[in-house]
């Protein structure tokens, strides 16, 4: 049984149908990437998983738990961590408060401190800025904070929505290294990216989304060698 399964999920915004029956699975321990152009429906897919939008049809399962009509704050507690598009850190709250919110439902102080230390070992830059308001961090640091914040819940699966957006290549590289490290330590990852080359580099499998439908899927290597993917997403002639 896959850790995460979407079964013919539809999402509507008013009359616009953003997802037209998306089915995909993520196995325990995998990095799966979801590729697609702007407006393809990648963000909508992640938002449906997290409960931020209600699917108009279809089912979403986390192992054997039906997430389909749960509220976002319940879905987090089942073990879905979401690093949203645009990072969405709390700009006026300190780095520590942002991290505290990441583990909002945990009350055990010792446990909270332990998890925070773990995030600081992953991203030492955040430790230096722990008292600073999130909004004063650089773009790269904010992305680290957004990821660290999602890790505070020790999610079974981490959803990332374009973590490379707006970041310098060096930073993107170091963030992707952290993702690989997390995955080696056992975190399952669903990675949404427009940067297909980097995403296919670290992913095991991938799906390609076009106007709300999955049009291609396969191993990362097969996708990277597929002429259609190369033409559309890897900038090859």
């Amino acid at each position: 049984m896959p850790l995460l399964a979407l079964q013919r999920v539809h999402v509507h915004y008013g009359l616009i149908e953003a997802l037209k029956g998306v089915s995909l699975t993520v196995e325990q321990g995998e990095i799966v990437t979801l590729l697609g152009a702007n407006g393809a429906g990648k963000t909508s897919t992640l938002r449906a998983i997290s409960g931020l939008v209600r699917p108009s049809a279809g089912r979403i399962l986390l192992h054997d738990i039906d997430l389909t009509h749960r509220k976002p704050h319940e879905i987090v507690q089942f073990g879905v961590g979401h690093v949203p598009e645009g990072r969405r850190i709390f700009p006026r709250l300190s780095v520590e408060e942002n991290l505290r919110l990441g583990a909002f439902t945990i009350r055990d102080r010792a446990e909270l401190a332990r998890r925070q230390e773990y995030v600081f070992t992953l991203f030492p830059r955040l430790a230096e800025r722990r008292k600073q308001p999130g909004g004063t961090l650089s773009g790269g640091e904010q992305q680290m904070l957004a990821i660290g914040r999602a890790l505070m819940m020790q999610p079974r699966i981490l959803l990332l929505d374009e973590p490379s957006m707006g970041l310098a290549p060096v930073l993107v590289e170091s963030i992707f290294e952290v993702l690989q490290r997390l995955n080696r330590d056992g975190t399952t990852i669903l990675l949404v990216e427009q940067n297909a080359r980097m995403a296919l580099d670290i992913a095991h499998r991938g799906y390609v989304l076009e106007t709300g439908q999955i049009v291609l899927s396969g191993s990362a290597r097969d996708l990277a060698n597929d002429p259609r993917v190369q033409a559309a997403y890897l900038g090859a002639a």
């Binding site: 931020l52 509220k71 704050h73 969405r88 709390f90 009350r107």
Partner: protein, 356 residues
């Protein structure tokens, strides 16, 4: 796709007529206020002690506005909505507590245990207003959470009328006199003892509010929802619960304010929430809606201006009974702020408004 962008009326260097008129009115008002103040001070009708008393009264009045204003501004923070029923939340606590106060007075308990009675009245009023605020949220606002912004505004007015006429129906339209608290009679140095009770009560409430927001999980949840509702939900914050907690806290403070108001003005009535409600809303806008320190400062500033303004600005022109102009001053301030500085004195402190 080739529709020309409409010309902005106020765009570019062009100054259009309506702006000129607005600035003209603003300048005229400032001149009137400035000239009036000079004339008043020259005439010297008021002694220094009188000015001091005006200011002390203004601070007490303003502290009460501040408590009510915090409720407006906190709700605005989490919902980007003005809870126009908040004045009635304030009234509900003060009116209901009249019956407790009256009972304590008749039974003699108020005389034998004045402090216990006062604290009981404050807590009781806080709880009543809290309950009313939570009910208003559940019944009038929550079902309309996704509706256009105008809709909850209309239900707010409906809820206001509902509460006013419920209290009128239950308790009549007459004015009821709050019993005097024996230990709060008379003066201590230049202060009325009731004014001191107001300062202390407001100060303690503010300290508790700050501790609640900064030190508790529920407070953190409210701050997170105020900054980014969706991101807060992704953290596991139950947004509905954070919103209702905000109403509860704002309501509790309005209830405290209701009793303090009754201590100063001695009487309550079903319509008593209207003016303080609008004044406190003015204070919240004055400080920058959504900004907590702003609401407190805005309350104090408004209270003091209202208290010294009529005499200071208008007495010099020989206007009789100038103090009747104090409500005019408050509303003029509201309009001027909305026109010239809608973000308030301390500037807007909003996060992620576009993300709603």
């Amino acid at each position: 796709m080739t529709i020309a962008a409409p010309q902005r009326l106020t765009g570019g260097r062009r100054i259009d007529i309506s702006q000129l008129i607005v600035w003209g009115i603003g300048g005229l008002l400032l001149t009137i206020v400035f000239l009036g103040s000079i004339l008043t001070l020259r005439a010297g009708h008021y002694s220094a002690a009188q000015w001091r008393d005006f200011i002390v009264f203004g601070i007490a009045q303003g502290a009460i506005y501040a408590l009510i204003a915090l409720g407006y501004t906190m709700v605005y923070g989490v919902l980007r909505m003005i809870n126009f029923a908040h004045g009635e939340v304030f009234m509900s606590g003060a009116m209901t507590t009249f019956f407790l106060a009256d009972y304590l007075n008749r039974s003699g308990f108020l005389k034998s245990h004045p402090w216990v009675s006062l604290i009981a009245m404050l807590l009781f009023s806080g709880l009543v207003s809290m309950t009313v605020a939570v009910l208003v949220e559940r019944i009038a606002y929550r079902p309309l959470r996704g509706a256009p912004r105008l809709v909850p505004l209309i239900t707010a007015v409906g809820a206001s009328f509902f509460l006013q006429y419920t209290f009128r129906g239950l308790f009549g339209s007459g004015v009821r006199a709050y019993p005097a608290i024996p230990v709060l009679q008379g003066k201590l140095w230049v202060f009325q003892k009731t004014q001191i009770a107001v300062f202390v009560g407001v100060l303690i409430t503010l300290v508790l509010l700050v501790l609640f927001l900064q030190r508790t999980r529920a407070g953190l949840a409210i701050r997170a929802v105020a900054e980014d509702r969706e991101a807060a939900a992704l953290m596991g914050v139950d947004v509905d619960r954070a919103i209702v907690t905000t109403f509860a806290v704002g309501g509790f403070m309005a209830g405290i304010a209701g009793v303090l108001y009754a201590l100063v003005f001695i009487q309550v009535q079903f319509f008593m929430g209207f003016l303080p409600g609008i004044k406190a809303f003015t204070a919240a806008v004055l400080g920058g809606i959504g900004n907590l320190p702003g609401a407190a400062v805005g309350g104090l500033v408004l209270g003091v201006i209202e208290s010294i303004g009529p005499s200071l600005f208008f007495d010099g022109y020989g206007i009789r009974a100038a103090h009747q102009l104090k409500d005019v001053i408050a509303f003029t301030i509201l309009v001027l702020i909305l026109i010239f500085r809608p973000t308030g004195l301390l500037g807007e402190r909003l996060g992620g408004e576009e993300r709603l």
